[in-house]
């Protein structure tokens, strides 16, 4: 039973360690990612998600390869992405790659779609970056059909037509992988998630909550508008960031040089300002739990919480220590979230639950016909 899922998401950046000046090789970074995913399972997390990037300093250009490798070495953890690029990947290849992964790991996977690219990346894959939102919509509409329909005839704006095409393998148990749509500013993506009754993931780690409250509420309202349930029943995922030590001051002292030099926010606001203004916690495990719980106050009770831990040049040894500390407070985090969760808020999606729901819906339909 998984009421709420907790996990990690990695960007897969190769960043110099600002404290000791070393930079991992690509080989080390890729292998470390696997070690971190194994650790995530060991401490009892539910999800491990990898980003997708096609330019340095990032290594994860082939997420399903990495996820399948991790899947072979783990037993329980759900493998996912953060994000799979719906803009620049051919939807036919996404349908095939992720369905293959679904079979290999016995349904223990889902995926998060996102635009996730800077303008120069698009032409590397034959697309025009000024059409990012249109590409997102058309590609997803096609992906949906490739998984839900056995034979697809399709014609669109951005890809050659398909005639009598069957994407193989067909989804496991006739149930396509669950799809999350990640977006930090585009209401069209929230609308897309709402229309199809898919999950919506707001990676809220870089901006203040007000910005995301608006988008998440929009998604919840539109989810209800399209008849998938009440706004509270929409499937929401959030990001988070922490650096914890038993003693709050130790966490601040140790993390400060990594914060000050971090690729996204380094050389900008102070650690104190940034922690006050965004979901980042740098402090004790208890402070981390308290702050994470506030997310549900702001955004409503939700289904998936992913943390970014391996970034800013933190050495793998420290990342693994952080995961041990996370593992220690994880039962508290679960219990506190469960305690505040009203009845009627849906559980986080899993393959088994979706297969069961499908069987139930089919039985109901037969009953109605009989």
């Amino acid at each position: 039973m998984t009421t709420m899922q907790f996990g990690l998401f990695t960007v897969g950046d190769v960043t110099p360690d600002p404290v000791n000046g070393t930079t991992p090789s690509e080989h080390e970074r890729i292998k470390n990612t696997v070690a971190i995913a194994q650790k995530a399972e060991e401490i009892g997390l539910d999800v491990f998600a990898t980003g997708e990037h096609h330019n340095p300093p990032f290594v994860p250009s082939s997420p399903t390869t990495t996820l399948a490798y991790i899947g072979a070495q783990t037993e329980k953890i759900i493998l996912s992405t953060s994000t799979t690029l719906i803009t620049t990947n051919d939807p036919v290849k996404i349908a095939e790659d992720y369905a293959t992964l679904q079979h290999l790991v016995d349904g223990r996977m889902d995926l998060m779609l996102g635009r996730g690219n800077t303008a120069p990346v698009y032409p590397w894959f034959g697309y025009d970056g000024s059409k990012a939102v249109e590409l997102t919509i058309e590609h997803y509409q096609l992906l949906r059909r490739l998984w839900d329909e056995d034979v697809v005839n399709w014609e669109g704006q951005f890809r050659t037509p398909l005639q009598g095409f069957t994407a193989t393998p067909r989804p496991l148990d006739g149930v396509a992988p669950f799809v999350w749509h990640g977006s930090i500013r585009t209401p069209e993506v929230a609308e897309l998630a709402a229309y199809y009754g898919d999950g919506y993931f707001a990676n809220n780690i870089f901006w203040p909550k007000e910005h995301y409250i608006r988008l998440i509420n929009f998604y919840r309202q539109r989810y209800a508008h399209y008849g998938h349930g009440s706004p509270e029943q929409a499937i929401v995922g959030l990001g988070g960031q922490f650096f914890i030590r038993k003693n709050s001051q130790d966490a601040v002292r140790e993390f400060r040089p990594y914060f000050d030099n971090a690729p996204v926010y380094g050389h900008g606001p102070s650690l104190e300002d940034f922690t006050a203004q965004t979901p980042l916690t740098v402090g004790s495990p208890q402070e981390f739990v308290e702050k994470t719980l506030t997310f549900a106050d702001y955004f409503g009770d939700y289904q998936r919480q992913l943390f970014l831990v391996d970034h800013a040049g933190l050495p793998t040894k420290i990342v693994l220590e952080q995961l041990d500390l996370l593992g220690e407070v994880l039962p508290t985090l679960r219990a506190e979230f469960d305690a505040r969760r009203p009845a009627g808020v849906p559980d986080a999606p899993t393959h088994a639950a979706r297969v069961a729901a499908k069987a139930e819906a089919e039985a109901e339909k037969e009953e109605a016909l009989a």
Binding site: I137, Q141, E155, E191, L192, F206, Y226, H267, Q277
Partner: protein, 208 residues
């Protein structure tokens, strides 16, 4: 409701002739509209917040408060000192930190200070293009104050208070625009459910 006017001063010293010029606008506005509110925002006090916002892409609560004030104002007076023949980087960074289109249709009076009268076209060559991009309703009279203007402003007789007269003219234009019909366009941050892109989500293009 009485008119709310906010002045943005990019003067970087304290005290600053740029902020002084902004305050002169305040005096002229109060003289013309005694019930109008007038407040000067000095960007110098927000310098670190503005720089942080350019790096992380969001405003600190302090900066956001000022941005909200600016967005809610009925009219703006915008005053910059001249640095290297243009406005200072901080001035541009402040407007960079604003959400797109937030100033659309906003009545704006432009003013500038400079170390020599030879910079007097800075309003028209540097500031106006920025506000054209921002889609503000910028009034025709811009007031440039050089050291000579500060020295001559208290004289009596012919050419008396020439600076004050120009400010009054600019304020008259600003009030007229602010109290008139404007451009009929204003910032609207509601999500457009009926854009072509949005509609294509629930109504996929016809299939062959």
């Amino acid at each position: 409701m009485s008119l709310r006017v906010v002045a943005i001063s990019a003067g970087l010293s304290d005290s600053s002739s740029t902020t002084l010029l902004a305050q002169r606008y305040g005096e002229a506005i109060r003289a013309a509209r005694p019930d109008a509110s007038f407040e000067v925002v000095t960007l110098r006090d927000l310098a670190h917040d503005i720089t942080d916002a350019t790096i992380v892409g969001f405003a600190s609560p302090r900066l956001q408060h000022v941005i909200d004030q600016v967005a809610a104002a009925d009219a703006l007076v915008v005053v910059a000192p001249t640095f290297k023949a243009s406005y200072p980087g901080l001035f541009k960074s402040f407007f960079d930190a604003l959400e797109a289109e937030v100033l659309t249709g906003k009545p704006v009076a432009l003013a500038a200070t400079g170390g020599t009268a030879r910079h007097s076209l800075v309003i028209d060559y540097a500031m106006r293009p920025l506000f054209a991009y921002l889609q503000t309703m910028t009034v025709p009279t811009g007031v440039f104050a050089s050291p000579h203007d500060w020295a001559s402003s208290n004289r009596t007789g012919e050419g008396a208070d020439a600076l004050g007269a120009r400010i009054e003219r600019a304020v008259g234009e600003l009030l007229s625009v602010a109290e008139g019909g404007g451009t009929g366009r204003a910032f609207d941050d509601s999500i457009d459910l009926f854009s072509e892109t949005m509609l294509s989500i629930s109504d996929p293009r016809p299939q062959a």
